[in-house]
C-alpha cells in the first residue's frame, strides 16, 4: 500500500517524483536516471525488529498508545476490500431460470434451478482406507544412513565372525546394508555386507574419492545361495546342500580390483595400516559411553 512506502522503510526502489522531497533526508541521493534500474532490482522486504524493548519477560517498555505512535500506525490504515463484496453482490450468477412449458393449463412456465442438488449422497464422507494403507513392501522402504558413516569411514564391526575388526566402508547397498572391505590383505575381511546397527563408526576417514566400485556388487551378488530341490529324496537332502562355502574366482578378482585402489590410499596415511590390522576391545576402566570414536 502507498502508506507503507512512506513509512521510512529502506526500499531504494520505486521513488516517485512526489517523494523526492523526503529523499533529501535519506542518506543516499539517487539520480532519476537510475530509477528504471532500481525498479527492476527488487529487494526482499525487511521488517523492523520489535520497537518495544523488553523489561522483563512479557512486559514491554511502552504502552499500547505509545507503540501506536512508534509504529506510525496512524499512517498505516488499511481499508477493507469493500469493492469486492459489492462486486460479488452484483455479479452473482443467477440461481434460477424460468423456462417455458408447453401444454394446456400448465401455467406456461416453470422456475428451474440452474445448479441442482445432488441425487446421491454416499454413506461415508471419505472412502475407507485399505488395511494395507501406508504399508510398503521392503523394496520400497526408506533407507537411512547415519551421518557419521560416509564413504571411506573406518568402521568397527561388532557382530559376526569378524567382530572387533576395523574395516573400511565403501557404500550403502539397495537394501540398506553397508558394503565393506578389510582390505583382505590387512585383516582378512573380504568384500562383505555389514548391518548399520551393528557397527561403530569412527571419525577416521580414508579418502575414497576416486575409487571405482564395480557396479555388479549388489545385494543379489552377496546373497547366500541355497539349493532346495527335494524331488522325493528324503534321505539324501543333506548331501545336495552346500556344506562348505567355496570362494569363487569372480569374488577374488573383484576383491583385488577394489582393494588395489584402496590400499594405495591407506599407505599414504601413517600408521593407518597397523590400525586396520588391530582389533577393538574393552578393558578395565574403558567405558563405551565415555569413549570418543
Amino acid at each position: 500500500m502507498a502508506g507503507e512506502k512512506k513509512a521510512g522503510e529502506k526500499k531504494p526502489a520505486q521513488k516517485k517524483t512526489g517523494e523526492k522531497k523526503t529523499g533529501d533526508k535519506k542518506p543516499v541521493e539517487k539520480k532519476p536516471s537510475q530509477k528504471k534500474v532500481r525498479e527492476k532490482i527488487k529487494k526482499p522486504k525487511k521488517y523492523h525488529a520489535s520497537r518495544n524493548p523488553v523489561l522483563a519477560r512479557g512486559i514491554g517498555k511502552y504502552s499500547r498508545s505509545a507503540m501506536y505512535a512508534r509504529k506510525a500506525l496512524y499512517k498505516r490504515k488499511y481499508t477493507a476490500p469493500e469493492t469486492k463484496i459489492e462486486k460479488k453482490k452484483k455479479e452473482k450468477p443467477r440461481a434460477t431460470i424460468t423456462k417455458p412449458v408447453g401444454g394446456d393449463k400448465n401455467g406456461g412456465s416453470r422456475v428451474v434451478k440452474v445448479r441442482k442438488m445432488p441425487r446421491y449422497y454416499p454413506t461415508e464422507d471419505v472412502p475407507r482406507k485399505l488395511l494395507s494403507h501406508g504399508k510398503k513392501p521392503f523394496c520400497q522402504h526408506k533407507r537411512k544412513l547415519r551421518a557419521s558413516i560416509t564413504p571411506g569411514t573406518v568402521l568397527i564391526l561388532l557382530t559376526g565372525r569378524h567382530r572387533g575388526k576395523r574395516v573400511v566402508f565403501l557404500k550403502q547397498l539397495a537394501t540398506g546394508l553397508l558394503l565393506v572391505t578389510g582390505p583382505l590383505v590387512i585383516n582378512r575381511v573380504p568384500l562383505r555386507r555389514a548391518h548399520q546397527k551393528f557397527v561403530i563408526a569412527t571419525s577416521t576417514k580414508v579418502d575414497i574419492s576416486g575409487v571405482k566400485i564395480p557396479k555388479h556388487l549388489t545385494d543379489a551378488y552377496f546373497k547366500k545361495k541355497r539349493l532346495r530341490k527335494p524331488k522325493h529324496q528324503e534321505g539324501e537332502i543333506f548331501d545336495t546342500e552346500k556344506e562348505k562355502y567355496e570362494i569363487t574366482e569372480q569374488r577374488k578378482t573383484d576383491q583385488k580390483a577394489v582393494d588395489s585402489q584402496i590400499l594405495a590410499r591407506i599407505k599414504k596415511v601413517p600408521q593407518l595400516r597397523g590400525y586396520l590390522r588391530s582389533t577393538f576391545s574393552l578393558s578395565n576402566g574403558v567405558y563405551p559411553h565415555k569413549l570418543v570414536f
Partner: protein, 145 residues
Amino acid sequence: VFKRFVEIGRVAFISFGRHAGKLVAIVDVIDQNRALVDGPCSGVRRQAMPFKCMQLTDFVLKFPHSARQKCVRLAWEKENINEKWAATRWAKKIEAREKKAKMTDFDRYKVMKAKKMRNRIIKHEIKKLQKKTSKKVKKTEKKQK
C-alpha cells in the same frame, strides 16, 4: 601456611559455573562470600562472583580497588597473564586432560604404539645397566676368591 591470598588484583581461575575454565581478576570484595570480579581478556563481564567457585592462582595484578575495566585490562596485558598462565603446569594439565578426553579411536591406537616403543627403549637401557652391574659384581667376587 597459606601462600595465595584473596586481595585486589589476585587472578583467580573459575572452576565451575557459567564461566568455568576462565581467568578473572578480583577487583573488590563485596562481603564474606562474594567478590567483584572482572575478566576483560578472558571474556568475563564485570560481575559479583562467589569465592567458592574461584581458585586462586599465583598471579597478582596491580590496580586500585574498584578500578574500571580499562585499568584492569591494561594491568592484565602489561603482565601478560594469558601467556604466563598457558606456561604454568596447572594450565598444561588442564589442556592434557581435555586432549585425552577428545582422543579418537585412531589416536588411542597411536598412543598405544608410542607408549609401547618408549617402554621398550627404557627397558632396553635398564637391561644394559643391569648387565654392567652384574658383571662388576662377578668380577669383585672372583677377586675375593
